[in-house]
Subunit: 406 residues, 2 copies
């Protein structure tokens, strides 16, 4: 509804739904919303929609009104979307059907946990309610491992994925040092390099990997890539590389999309980049062909694509868990406080010691927009991240293992 058009909470039911790629903490936000609403007199039923907007259209609901705290706590600690998720991106007609369900069931509060597409769905449904004079409050609770939402210092889900990526590169760097060669690891992140950058978090000494970090914010040149790797091989006798799945050429075409045959596209028209090893394999083939021989031999080249484990690994960052829960509670709190719709965003109030808080922003500030890595997080060379980025990331991921050396 419009800001200022009412003076307090309205009576009615509420619905909460989850959308897009799951994360390790999306259930924390779900539980945060439910906990926050359970104590609120104005709320009748709390519906959980199965598989996001699909469940809202089909009236496929779970009643969460009286879910015991013990169950909520167990669900909160479980990765992936407990209600089920969806890749559907509702158009105007789809949104109208969502709105019809809301009216039909006297739902006055709509909480949608997801990325920038989900905030856009919130925005459209909100407009429909405004146009028809139906009192409805729409809240977007942020969620994405890509960390590409505007207004957020970082998004719930990102820190746990970053923790996974940092752990993976830490172990893999030791592996690569043990049997030297070239190792490419492809990391999620279609438009933003925040998750790929996490690869460098645990890099200790200069000889440690990842030696290069390629993010979508900088043009990726295949020629420069080969030169970079040759250089690391001659300096360190090995090379560990972090590549974002979203790396692009100078025309803005994703390198991965060019190389992947038989690709499936999703409802957003995006070519499938995750769930395929093609980008890594093609880059490995290129290096096998073009790299300078070492001791008369083609260097050993391997590629791994980190895959879905990045987003649902069952060992989340404690900070991420706490903030995701808090984001859900904060959204419920906005419902209590009265007359504002909006999207929740995380604000960092102190870096050392780390402290954060929540704020409300307008749906339009987040909807269908993409945040990119700021320039100060990317090395001038364009093939690495800066210490400023690592300092920003460090407090988010939780305790990390220590490395011993002989």
């Amino acid at each position: 509804m419009n800001a200022g058009s009412s003076s307090g909470p309205i009576k009615g039911n509420a619905v909460v739904a989850q959308s897009g790629g799951p994360t390790a903490v999306i259930n924390q936000s779900l539980v945060g919303v439910v906990e926050g609403l359970q104590g609120m007199n104005e709320i009748g039923k709390i519906y959980g929609a199965r598989h996001g907007v699909r469940g809202m259209v089909a009236k496929d609901f779970v009643d969460l009104s009286n879910t015991p705290q013990e169950t909520l706590d167990l669900v909160a600690g479980t990765p992936s979307a407990g209600l089920g998720s969806t890749r559907d991106k509702p158009d105007a007609d789809y949104c109208a059907r969502i709105f019809a369900t809301l009216r039909d069931l006297d739902i006055r509060y709509f909480f949608y946990i997801g990325g920038n597409d989900s905030s856009d769905t919130c925005r459209i449904v909100n407009e429909l309610s405004n146009q028809s004079g139906y009192e409805l409050r729409c809240f977007h609770v942020p969620k994405t491992v890509d960390n590409d939402l505007m207004e957020n210092d970082h998004t719930p889900g990102y820190a746990s994925a970053a923790r996974y990526v940092a752990m993976a590169f830490m172990g893999d760097n030791l592996d690569n040092a043990s049997i030297p060669g070239v190792k490419i690891n492809v990391v999620m992140g279609r438009h933003a390099g925040f998750l790929t950058g996490a690869a460098a978090l645990m890099r200790g000494r200069e000889q440690d990997g990842p030696h290069y970090v390629y993010v979508p914010e900088r043009t990726f040149s295949l020629e420069k890539f080969v030169t970079d790797v040759d250089q690391a091989m001659s300096k360190h006798g090995r090379c560990q590389i972090a590549v974002s799945e979203g790396i692009q050429d100078e025309d803005g075409t994703a390198i991965g999309a060019k190389l992947i045959e038989n690709a499936q596209t999703d409802a957003h028209g995006n070519v499938q980049l995750s769930g395929s090893g093609a980008l890594g394999d093609q880059l490995a083939s290129l290096l096998k062909e073009k790299l300078k021989p070492v001791g008369g031999k083609v260097p050993r080249v391997r590629a791994d694509t980190l895959g879905y484990a990045q987003r649902c690994w069952p060992d989340p960052s404690p900070v991420d868990q706490q903030e995701a829960r808090q984001a859900g509670r904060f959204a419920a709190g906005l419902a209590k406080s009265g007359d504002l719709d909006g999207s929740i965003a995380i604000v960092r109030t102190s870096n050392d010691p780390y402290k954060s808080g929540m704020k409300r922003v307008d749906l339009s500030a987040v909807a269908a927009k993409t945040r990119h890595m700021p320039d100060e997080f990317i090395a001038k060379s364009g093939n690495n991240v800066t210490d400023a980025f690592r300092d920003w990331l460090r407090p988010l991921v939780g305790p990390m293992p220590k490395v011993g050396r002989l």
Copy 2:
């Protein structure tokens, strides 16, 4: 040396080396050997060979004689081979050069931590010493994530890799339930299905994945594969699949090797199976082409190849850490006790509560041989593992996260 040809420890130096693919606990075994030797009067220097047999030929050594306990403990907890590893498989000439180094440096104890190829190197070097009358004791300390060594209930390194695989499938099953479709995950294990089987450890209810587990011990038919997946799709609306990288057709040809273009082979003549997403991608392409449509649409099919994280993830199984350390100490203890060469093997003495011990076996019992999954661990259908397998695996992996459901 020959059993019985001497009555006690001989004076001289010792060397320890690591070989093959790293594991999360291979440094525990290294430290176990060093700790065991440090208190032994007969031992002069304790050499650590850099990159296995390569370092032994090149005399590239680290002196481990006086490494402080604090450093040893930190190294023991660090994944991957602290001394560096190698893929070299020594032939007779190579072994002669290793032996030359041993004589030259008055090394009387040779500890080699690795898989069945490493035990074969031990065996050959041992024969050379016997032939030339040089008193030498050779010990093989087991290490492999594949769990394919004879005489072992399980091998150091396996339990930590199994922990990773079980965690990955647990999170991925929730992910797949959240956004239903077909998900293939390719798991390491060239000849043995123990690691792939770990995918099923955390399967709770009948509808949970993995719905199928394909191991190298059973013939893999592409036709049967498509039928299996169709069946799960019609029953559960989704399908999560564990596939060993080593699955073979009826002629014993690895499906992966057939499909991978531009493959590199290692010194053992093995085609590279890890470090490439080709097998998963090709199986996914096949399913996209052949699966029955669901609701008029080709089901969503994705493939991940779990990759090197399986063997060096920095969160090892506590049981694995302890046993890997113990295997190293036990080998050093054999040196103290006198006149026997051999390979160390883990024996399970009780399942509930779990207890294990170590035994010595002849090098020839392990060298260059491969252990496969016993029949009682594989379902009669040939596309899954049994509860007997899961009961056998459960005590090895350490505490696992709990799952909450709405």
